[in-house]
Amino acid sequence: MSDQLELLVEMGRHFAATQDIEATMSRALERISELMGAQGGALFVLEGDHLVCHASHGPIDVVGLTIEKGKGIIGRSVSNNVSEMVWDAQSDPSFYSEFDKQFDFTTRSILCAPMSVKDERIGAIEMVNKSTGDGLFNQDDLTLLEALAASAALAISNARMAGELAEREVMRRELQLAAEIQRGLLPSEDIEADTPVCGVNRPARIVSGDFFDHFALYDGRIAFTLADVSGKGMNAALLMAKTASLFRCLGKEDLRPGRLLQRINAEVCETAMRGMFVTMVAGVYDPATGRLVLANAGHEPPLVHGTDGRFTALSAGAPPVGIPPELTGGGPVPEEVLHLGGGALYIFTDGATEGYVAPGKELGADGFQEIIRTGQSGGLGPQARIAGVADALCASGEALRDDVTILVIDDTEPLKRRLVGDQMAPSIELQDMAAQDQPIEGSLCAMTLPARAESLCMVRRAVGQASETCGFNKEQCQDLVLAVDEACQNVIRHAYADSEGDMDIDIRRENGSLVILIRDFAPQVDVQAIQPRDLDDVRPGGLGVHFIREVMDDVEHLPPPDGQGNLLRLKKALKV
């Protein structure tokens, strides 16, 4: 019996020290066969509806052998979770004779001990053909096998748990990486920053289905968005990442929020995950005027907080992003134009108003407005005010019910600046060519401006400076300014006509020429129809095209980059 004890202790130690249960079991089967005087033994593990051999010892290597769950003496042992000692296997009704036939083996006696931990069936260890003594397995053999089975069962169960834990740990780490990348997609939340547009995001889980973003455009206006993807899990986080990227990418190209949302919708629908959608608000705010253009695709109504202290809700203009355009007609999302006049606009996800401030008590729209009002009268800046709302929702100590995201566009400070005349006019900075030995090739100045008459004076200033820098004389500079002004006027008056939009102006120095690219996003104009007028016919209007052709060396309508809008290239050679 001391040999048997020694074996058990040794096996226990091996199981504890190694993850390789199969190697340990092979050795154990070898030792136990010797001790019992058995011809061989095998360990079977229950995998679904089958028992699969994972370790064996004896004349035939049966590792990998698979037996149906209920078949044979071993199947019976596992099903009943009871040990079996069969002295005459051939006459046992459960005996599985196929094995003997397949391997040309004669099974005489079987000793089998099931492996289980609590209620979990793990498998069984089976010994065959005792050849010492009277050739019959006895109670001592069974006790030993049962002890070994118990210790093997525990080792296998532990290993499985360790595996699951490791897998869970890998998942957890991957999730954390995903969250990190996701945070990187959001603008930073800086309480100190003196910016009129800012936001907060507090995910309910590790990753979030909400996002906000904002960035400054060339002319000082600020593009912004806030969106809520249906769901909160990894799928929502992935769709969020896609939508956020689309906004960043298309938002710099298309400055009309209604059409931007239309384009994002088309892109999302092309590859959308079924049944997922995004409620989204996009807009452009101009700190120089307080004017704000907003488009809302199915999102919670944003709140305008007027200087009179009143909150006004703005309803959604279109269904959410992710609804196929063919179902909705596919037009641009309707836009709304606001003049903040020193007030503020709050855009938020329902996680903000439906979050709990105390167990079972939602913050609600009133609570939201109250925190904002109190923060404002307490002199808090926009970032601190919305952080106050987010903190109130986290204060209960409970996990958030839903992601909380809030974006604010606060016109208070910009209005003050406008009143003291410190217009936040975008500065046009030309690259300092005088400081360079070699004149710069490429863009000297690029800007995006609203296609309005008021923008022209900025265009003239930029063209005037660029032409002067390029060495044109005073008269030529004046001509160039006139020509570009006229080309922009055509965009404003003819391409956009009664609609609103933007124009991109890129002033470049290329191959010994000053090149001005003027791009708009209006419907395409019929280039053939543009003709300079006959100067003998004295009448008002129609002179612009003549001026442009007279001044420039080359005027060409190019196909616009993505087939949208119009692109005009004006060229004037630099005379050395």
Binding site: E454, Q478, P540, F547
Partner: protein, 110 residues
């Protein structure tokens, strides 16, 4: 852009200064057509104009045509270098009556 009106010797002198562009030319046009509608001969003083575009030029052309059809005098005076260059580009320096001094202009239209 600024516009100053002054009755002088039987004509209205409309002194335009600053930048005449798409956003300001409608005001020039309205002012000129207004004077003509009231039956005045008009002298447009362009000495203070720093910039004028095709829409500004078009306002002048329209006013000139309106004056002609009513048999009223209309001329330009003291055209500074910048607007003169634009008028030349449009070949309109040969169409408008242009005087170097206000006195000459007033004497011609009144």
């Amino acid at each position: 852009m600024d516009i100053a009106l002054q009755d002088q010797g039987g004509a209205v002198v409309v002194a335009v200064s600053g930048e005449v562009d798409l956003s300001t030319s409608p005001k020039v046009r309205d002012t000129l057509l207004d004077c003509i509608a009231r039956g005045s001969a008009v002298v447009v003083d362009l000495s203070g104009v720093a910039y004028i575009d095709s829409s500004g030029v078009a306002s002048l052309v329209e006013a000139y045509q309106a004056a002609k059809s009513k048999g009223l005098g209309f001329c330009l005076a003291q055209v500074s270098e910048t607007p003169m260059r634009v008028l030349k580009l449009a070949r309109l320096d040969q169409v408008f009556i242009i005087h170097d001094t206000l006195d000459e202009a007033i004497a011609a239209v009144a």
